[in-house]
């Protein structure tokens, strides 16, 4: 894996060169496809005007709030579904069904309920990961090998210690998959919703200026997504895989 880093960078630089060459060949007007140099100029300007930082800060705050809310509420619902069979038999299929609905489909309804403001964005951001985390948590708890619970009981675990020291770590690998899926739902639907309403935010930044500004904002969105994956989810999943041997 590590060895291919150089090749990835080389490929990216190569694409950048081809892109620049295409734009300089006059076939592509800059309003249609801005050259990398135009994008760099736009990015430089937007950095110094403070637009980038304001947008990034706003969007990160929204995604963090929506995602954390979804984790708490979805995790709670997932635990309840796993714990109470009657609830699961009725609500389980509904939860899994609603997970299949792309979260941005909630946008019109959320707009009616909350207006074009923060509450609407929170709803659209949180609703996707909420259902994803709930169904992943439910499935993860159900998939815990019964032998772990029995062994822990013979070793004196019960009640709270059974939850915290056995059920939680035993379900962690599957829960992490749900967290990752939930994150991508939150990120995607928030940006889509921001694109649809005016105001501060990365989604709005995408559609504010010319093509060069759009590409600059796209690169920021891409970069943030990669940073969260690379420094957020990957190290945690890597450590869990090493430990659990899965």
């Amino acid at each position: 894996m590590r060895k291919s880093h150089g090749q990835v960078v080389a490929l990216a630089l190569g694409l950048l060169l081809v892109w620049q060459a295409l734009c300089m060949s006059e076939g592509w007007p800059p309003e249609v496809l801005p050259a990398p140099s135009d994008v760099a100029v736009a990015a430089w300007r937007m950095t110094w005007s403070g637009e980038f930082f304001a947008s990034v800060w706003m969007t990160l705050r929204r995604v963090a709030a929506g995602y954390l809310l979804a984790l708490v509420a979805g995790g709670g619902l997932g635990i309840a579904l796993a714990r109470y069979g009657r609830l699961a038999s009725v609500a389980g299929p509904v939860v899994r069904g609603l997970e299949a609905l792309p979260a941005i489909c909630w946008y019109p309804l959320a707009l009616i309920w909350f207006g074009a403001g923060e509450w609407m964005l929170l709803w659209v951001t949180a609703v996707g990961p909420f259902f994803a985390v709930a169904s992943a948590t439910d499935e993860a708890i159900r998939a815990i090998p019964h032998a772990f619970v029995k062994a822990a009981a013979t070793l004196g675990a019960g009640g709270w210690s059974m939850y915290m020291r056995v059920m939680f770590p035993a379900s962690l690998p599957r829960v992490l998959v749900g967290l990752r899926v939930g994150w991508s739902y939150a990120w995607r639907s928030l940006l889509a919703a921001e694109l649809l309403v005016r105001g501060v935010g990365l989604g709005d930044l995408l559609d504010r200026g010319g093509a060069a500004e759009t590409v600059a904002a796209m690169l920021v969105v891409l970069g943030l997504g990669l940073v969260v994956e690379r420094f957020g989810f990957e190290p945690v999943e890597h450590r869990v895989r090493l430990r659990w041997g899965a």
Binding site: R243, W244, A246
Partner: protein, 269 residues
């Protein structure tokens, strides 16, 4: 001191008329029928029977993981209510926690008892020494071989100094060589700790080699149909001719029940 207590050690685990039914779509299954057993301090009892005879259910009842419909389970003359550290339990697949190291697993029960960290570490080291896993204390579970996992599972159970060690086909999933080594090791560990052992198995050779007594179970209803004593010094070798004789007798004794079990499994409707 009661008279004779020096000759006959105290009864640690006693089952009195234990009955258990399972309710299935086909109707009621009489799994255990008035099973009575006594295990004394230092005993090594093997519970032998064909698959599906109820020995696993009996094991779960002894461990406190299931309740009998009627009858009593006594530990040190006290009725059993749920699982407890007075009974160490080893499962077939070890059931070690993969999110903990070997040490984390062995210390788990001590942590549950709020034993301070220093003492925990000491007792864990002793237990790992006993099963010869001292060097592997900080290794993750998935890095251990199947035999080493069962050693770790034994350490996790004996570290709590149980009155009786309950083992449910602990070597069934091991290859022949590893199984042979683990049988030797278990005899050594048993001799060193003096803990009473109840060892559930469907393997006749294993039962005869390990047990002071072999309790033979019948198939449906599950009953103890006889107890066969095995008087032989230890450590016992797998190919001891005296053991072979008992083995031949037990194989014949089990044959009919084993056939019944297979027919039931294949379901001649």
């Amino acid at each position: 001191m009661k008279s004779g207590s020096a000759l006959t050690p105290k009864v640690i685990l006693e089952l009195r008329q234990v009955c258990k039914d399972f309710h299935t779509r086909q109707g009621r299954l009489h799994v255990l029928d008035k099973v009575s057993l006594r295990v004394r301090r230092g005993d090594f009892l093997c519970l032998l029977g064909p698959a599906g005879c109820g020995k696993s259910t009996l094991f779960h009842i002894c461990a406190g993981l299931e309740e009998p419909d009627s009858g009593q389970v006594l530990i040190d003359s006290q009725p059993v209510a749920g699982p407890g550290p007075d009974r160490g339990v080893v499962f077939q697949d070890g059931a070690l926690f993969p999110w903990l190291t070997v040490r984390g697993n062995v210390e788990f029960g001590l942590t549950m008892q709020n034993v301070p960290a220093g003492e925990r570490r000491e007792r864990c080291d002793e237990a790992l020494e006993l099963v010869r896993l001292r060097k592997f204390a900080d290794v993750n579970i998935h890095q251990l071989s199947a035999g080493m996992r069962q050693r770790a599972a034994i350490a996790r159970a004996v570290v709590l100094q149980p009155k009786v060690l309950l083992m449910d086909e602990p070597f069934a999933a091991l290859d022949a060589q590893t199984r042979n080594i683990m049988q030797e090791e278990l005899q050594r560990i048993w001799a060193q700790t003096g803990t009473a052992v109840v060892f559930v198995t469907s393997n006749v050779s294993e039962a005869v080699r390990l047990g002071d007594r072999v309790a033979v179970m019948s198939f449906r209803p599950g009953r103890i149909k006889r107890e066969v004593p095995v008087h032989r010094s230890r450590p016992r070798l797998a190919d001891d001719p005296h053991l072979m004789e008992i083995r031949t007798f037990l194989v014949r004794d089990l044959k009919e029940d084993a056939h019944l079990a297979v027919e039931e499994e294949l379901g001649d409707a």
